[in-house]
Amino acid sequence: MAETTMTHTSQMEPRPAGWRGIAADWASDQRAFKNVSWGKAMMWIFLLSDTFVFGCFLLSYMTARISTRVPWPNPSEVFALRIGGSEIPLILIAIMTFVLISSSGTMAMAVNFGYRHDRRKTAILMLLTAALGATFVGMQAFEWTKLITEGVRPWGNPWGAAQFGSCFFMITGFHGTHVTIGVIFLVIVARKVWRGDFDTGRPGFFTSRRGRYENVEIMGLYWHFVDLVWVFIFAFFYLW
């Protein structure tokens, strides 16, 4: 893609003040968001749509939780691990959250090195991000296994409201799917960076479009979003 950032801001006509100015800015020539490429705009709008998906999932879960007449299982007990003879509440979730938030850090560093065209460091950091993401999914699989062996099912559990298991598997499963897709795409983009596709202008296999180092940042937007969603799931499902 031969997109360029806007260079002629000085030529922009003077805008009216206040709301009219905001409307005029949005409605301006060729692009509503100056300096924003097509890919980045598309990712942001997709994330807005995806926010509504997760929002609906979480609101449905909250509705189920506040309207059930059966006690809700206590998350601190359910999600506790017995380590060294004592029950430590939420320890696995704490580690998982730490891992995922750390992966956001490595992702941000990858974006930085990407814009410096440092192929090696970018690719390594992206693969590290992917590894952390895969670790997160792995720990989630461990958590699912543990709960399933303790008798938690989508349709019921030993401790209380059946919706506990339904919401848990649905929401963490949907989020875990997002992380998994992210890991797959991280590996794909990392491979492109490693091979130098963004320097040589090699066309994409499916799209036959040339990629740019901005793709690393767009990938990062998705990854940070998935992390942010996890913070809300953590707060509303585990800490409530």
Binding site: M1, A2, E3, T4, M6, H8, Q11, M12, W26, A27, S28, D29, Q30, R31, A32, F33, K34, V36, S37, W38, G39, A41, M42, I45, F46, L48, S49, D50, F52, V53, G55, C56, F57, S60, T63, A64, S67, T68, R69, V70, P154, W155, A161, A162, Q163, G165, S166, M170, F174, F206, T207, S208, R209, R210
Partner: protein, 589 residues
């Protein structure tokens, strides 16, 4: 309003030319094509094909209602399946897909002066996922137990219980899967439409110079991207209820004397999720129609649209308001009275921007040079029908009036007028208007006139009597009404009459289809700009437009889309890409 840029004030291109994907074979040119125009035709053809299924289903329903007891093969179960699939196909797989996937794909890149959508490959995937959704939907007709008969709203708990056709068979599973696929496919296309309008316009094409068609499709797409998530979530949750035995929507319930395994779920939660999608969906279908009809009226009355700026703001206001009215579909579900008050108020407020639009259409016609072409006829029919359907909306938007009318034929008449007939009239008008651009040939005028009058008058003869039936208390969704006391002699005759009119109108659609196919080869040659219209899609070097739309150089836009009958101009229209100020004497409106 004088909105003309002098030729020397056009800023340089902010975005360089993007390489297009060039097809290498017949397959990549016509089947797996990344060209938005081909995708548009694919979307339209698929939507029309599945729409024909819905049309046949409506005939079967009318056979049963008009002549009860005559047709043994229409059992009550089959009747429920017919109404469910008819509703779902019409609303989602026909109207949404045709307006956004069909017209959106064809018109957005051409009208904003782009070579294609911003991500043609994703755009292509969008169509193929949509096709898959349609195939899954169709497969439910052949699944054991047949398609679901839960009603197009799919309300639980009945939707997944054994008393409902398809509830414990494959029907509901295939329906929900198909909807999920549709939403995934739509999202891929919708992101393209939105980004193309926001970021892919040609030089000089500010948002306030977009034709209203693009505004309507754009706003509807944004709404769809925010409303479909609620349906997606509702579908996932109901699928889990049905397949895994969760209880999101299923309360403790006894069926045939046996207690089901479900416990503690909330059917009302489904209704909230469904209508948070379902009400914006009405406007997802209506806003593209509003936009298109504005352009049809302006072009065929040779007059600039009245109050363009207000038209844009009205579209945006309707889009925003439609997200806070959903519970007016749930007045009889049991709700805090203050909520009813809130939702009735917001519902009635929508009448304000809607009325602005209707006034502006009429004022555009006022003292215009009205050509009664086929697109114009359909546009006029739309205004009348939309006003009719909108007025009955005032009845249903008020809680106290809605409660007795709820679930009667009055509701059926209302929503068919306002979101069935009205948008479909626009679709017809739009097809008569843009067919010459897509094929290079005009549709046959005589067949078109026949199609118009039978459809327009017939639709009124079908749906007007339904208001009366509804006021008498005739309920909807009943397969057999003969023995009910409210079904007087006259009501039964009326039902038979409605059915006969439905077959007549259906026949007229066959004539239309014949016209569509016949005119591809035998229609009168159209030339590049048969309607003498201003917008960019009529200014392409080739007709039908070639791959890349605009030849070597993208057009530069100097003016808004409505410079018709400008005083002092040589012709009665000035295309958007013609420089120069022809309107020195006009005062700003």
């Amino acid at each position: 309003m004088v909105d003309v840029t002098p030729a020397d004030a056009i800023p340089p291109a902010e975005v360089g030319e993007v390489e297009l994907y060039h097809p290498h074979s017949w397959w990549t040119k016509y089947v797996f094509s990344q060209d938005a125009k081909v995708i548009a035709v694919q979307y339209s053809a698929t939507a029309t094909a599945i729409g024909l299924v819905a049309l046949v289903l409506s005939w079967l329903m009318r056979l049963q209602l008009g002549f009860p007891g005559t047709f043994d093969f229409i059992t009550p179960e089959a009747y429920y399946q017919f109404i469910t699939m008819h509703g779902m196909i019409m609303v989602i797989y026909l109207l949404t897909a045709l307006f956004l996937g069909g017209f959106g794909n064809y018109l957005i890149p051409l009208m904003v002066g782009a070579r294609d959508m911003v991500f043609p490959y994703v755009n292509m995937l969008s169509y193929w996922v949509y096709l898959l959704a349609v195939l899954v939907l169709v497969s439910s007709f052949f699944a054991p137990g047949g398609p679901t008969g839960a009603g197009w709203t799919l309300y639980p708990p009945q939707a997944i219980m054994s008393g409902t056709p398809g509830g414990q068979d494959w029907g509901i599973i295939l329906m929900l899967s198909s909807l999920i696929l549709f939403i995934v496919g739509f999202t891929m296309g919708g992101l393209n439409y939105v980004v193309t309008v926001l970021q892919g316009r040609t030089r000089g094409m500010t948002l306030m110079r977009l034709p209203l068609t693009v505004w309507g499709i754009f706003t509807a797409t944004v709404m769809a991207l925010l409303a479909f998530p609620a349906l997606f979530v509702a579908c996932v949750m109901m699928l889990l209820d049905r397949v895994l035995g969760t209880s999101f929507f299923m309360p403790a319930i006894v069926e045939m004397g046996a207690q089901l395994q479900h416990n503690g779920g909330s059917p009302i939660l489904f209704q909230h999720l469904f209508w948070f999608f379902g009400h914006p969906e009405v406007y997802i279908v209506a806003l593209p129609a509003f936009g298109i009809v504005s352009d049809l009226i302006s072009t065929h009355a040779r007059k600039n649209i009245f109050g363009y700026r207000m038209m844009v703001w009205a579209i945006l206001a309707i889009g925003a308001l439609s997200f806070v009215v959903w519970a007016h579909h749930m007045y009889v579900s049991g709700m805090n009275p203050y909520f009813g008050f809130f939702f009735a108020t917001t519902t009635l407020i929508i009448a304000v921007p809607t009325a602005i639009k209707v006034y502006n259409w009429v004022l555009t016609l006022w003292r215009g040079d009205i050509h009664l072409t086929l697109p114009m006829l359909f546009a006029l029919a739309f205004i009348v029908t939309f006003v009719n359907g909108g007025l009955t909306g005032l009845f249903l938007g008020n809680v106290v009036v809605d409660v007795p009318l709820s679930d009667t034929m009055f509701v059926v008449a209302h929503f068919h007028m306002v979101m069935g007939v009205a948008p479909i009239l626009v679709i017809f008008g739009a097809i008569y208007h843009w067919y010459p651009k897509v094929t290079g040939r005009m549709l046959d005028e005589t067949l078109g006139k026949f199609h118009f009058w039978v459809t327009f008058v017939g639709a009124y003869l079908i749906f007007f009597p339904m208001h009366y039936l509804g006021l008498m208390g005739v309920p909807r969704r009943y397969a057999e009404l003969t023995d009910m006391t409210i079904m007087t002699e006259s009501a039964r005759h009326l039902n038979s009459f409605i059915s006969i009119m439905a077959f007549t109108v259906g026949f007229a659609q066959m004539v239309f289809l014949f016209n569509l196919i016949w005119s591809i080869r035998h229609g009168r040659g159209a030339g590049g700009n048969p309607w003498r219209a201003t917008t960019l899609e009529w200014q392409t070097p080739q007709t039908p437009p070639a791959h890349g739309n605009f030849g070597k150089e993208l057009p530069i836009v100097y003016r808004w889309a409505y410079d018709y009958s400008v005083p002092g101009a040589k012709e009665d229209f000035i295309p958007q890409n013609v420089p120069g100020d022809f309107a020195p004497s006009r005062e700003p409106a």
